[in-house]
């Protein structure tokens, strides 16, 4: 299994996670590889945190590094490009909830354009005001050549009223892929597969915000075939990131 959505590092908040601790969690959950990006760093310096992620990536071959930038900052486009070109990171994460911007803001375009579709952009999605599914789609539609991966199936809404909006994105925006962290509805995961196709749904746990073991249980509980579950657990992210399988 590959967990596509894990945050590590010394956190500004009370949820720090070291690589060693993560590796132990992965061992206990039978997760072979993980895609890691920085938690919000103590000094707000994402460039420094991205550089550290690159060190982690080179030290631990089963940890795949993504950078993270604050799209509101003037230097965000340069930092994103540096993370990929200089540090060798394999994607960029945007967290509009923790960095306080709307994902479809034109300021985000600068980051996406700087990367020029070199790597996927992972978006923390489904957060009120900042990354509702249609806001994510608004951004994704402006950049059809860029591959996006969104967290939480694109929505976090226990009333069920945002499901349809996320499914619109699944149907209409082929450059958007979905991780299913925190999606407690089995039928919503199955609907995502139906609307987006089995190649665009991936396993990401959103550790340490969510529980890696429990997120695996959710996918196992779906009424999907072994083949589709295998795509979710590893095949799709291997293809999206161009990783070596096995």
């Amino acid at each position: 299994m590959i967990d596509a959505n894990v945050f590590i590092g010394d956190s500004l908040y009370e949820n720090s996670l070291s690589p060693q601790h993560l590796l132990e969690m992965m061992r206990l959950s039978d997760v072979g590889r993980a895609v890691v990006r920085p938690l919000k760093p103590l000094d707000f310096d994402f460039d420094g945190a991205n550089c550290w992620i690159a060190e982690v990536q080179s030290k631990h071959p089963n940890l795949i590094g993504f950078g993270r930038v604050d799209a509101l900052l003037r230097q965000a486009p340069e930092q994103a490009l540096r993370a990929v070109e200089e540090y060798g990171l394999q994607g960029i994460h945007l967290h509009p909830w923790e960095e306080n911007y709307q994902i479809n803001s034109e300021k985000v375009d600068r980051v996406v354009e700087a990367l020029d579709a070199r790597v996927p952009i992972y978006v923390s999605a489904g957060y009120p005001v900042v990354s509702h599914p249609l806001q994510v789609q608004d951004l994704a539609n402006r950049h059809p050549d860029t591959t996006f991966i969104v967290t939480h199936g694109g929505q976090q809404d226990i009333s069920g009223m945002s499901f349809d909006d996320a499914l619109i994105v699944a149907r209409e925006s082929p450059n958007v892929n979905f991780d299913v962290s925190g999606v407690y509805r089995r039928d919503f995961i199955e609907l995502l597969i139906e609307q987006a196709g089995e190649q665009r749904i991936i396993f990401g746990s959103c550790t340490p915000y969510m529980d890696m073991t429990f997120e695996i249980i959710r996918i196992h509980a779906t009424h999907l075939s072994i083949e589709i579950k295998d795509r979710i657990f590893q095949g799709n992210i291997i293809r999206i990131l161009g990783l070596q399988g096995g």
Partner: protein, 248 residues
Amino acid sequence: MIIDAHAHADENDIWGWYDPPEKVISLMDEAGIDMAVITPYSDEPGPSPGLENLKRYLAQFPDRLIGFPRIDPKFGQKSIEIFEKTIKANPLMKGLKLHPISNLVKPFAPLCVELIRRAGELGVPVFIHCGDKIPALPLQITRAAGLCPDTTIICHMGGYFHAEEALRCARRQSNLVLDTSSTPYPMIVRQALELLGPNRVVFATDNPAGDPISELQKIRMLHLKPDVEERVLWKNIAELLHLEVGRN
């Protein structure tokens, strides 16, 4: 014995949500759940036959399903009369469901408070959808609970963004009971038990919206003491609903 304190069954043309009781029962069987409290998707009075569907489903599966009619409080006395008549006419109707996001009446608004108080007078609990949106925020429900101290109010553990707030609210308002569904955080369930004690947390799945197997696993992975797990999985809700179950 396992009792699910919150599930749904309805066939609703307006929203296009079709979850007949057979589907709910099948998922219960798959997870090993003996009984479930079900509510419709639509409010009564309203354009969809949610209440009639509920009555039919209970008649179909009287040993498996318990009903909470879902009432829209904005019709005042008419809403109260429908609720009261429903409860008195059918022993399988054992509570009231309020969904402020569909009825758009704040839980602490006078029309709602009157209905909640009436439930207390009838000796049945009220389940209020509690999540991340106005008008179903934990603090809004807590205000209602404060105005209706003789009614037990069961609500979700705050959804994605209000889980800790739901715990704080339940800690200070003793007639609030939290259900374990609709939150992705197993540790919040543990914290709820630590803060509130073993008697004010009830197992629920939101079936078929929520997945019964993983919702049950969410409790089991906490490795609770057997007597605590038993309270959560059925005893607490059985006591709230005065169910004659699990007695040898």
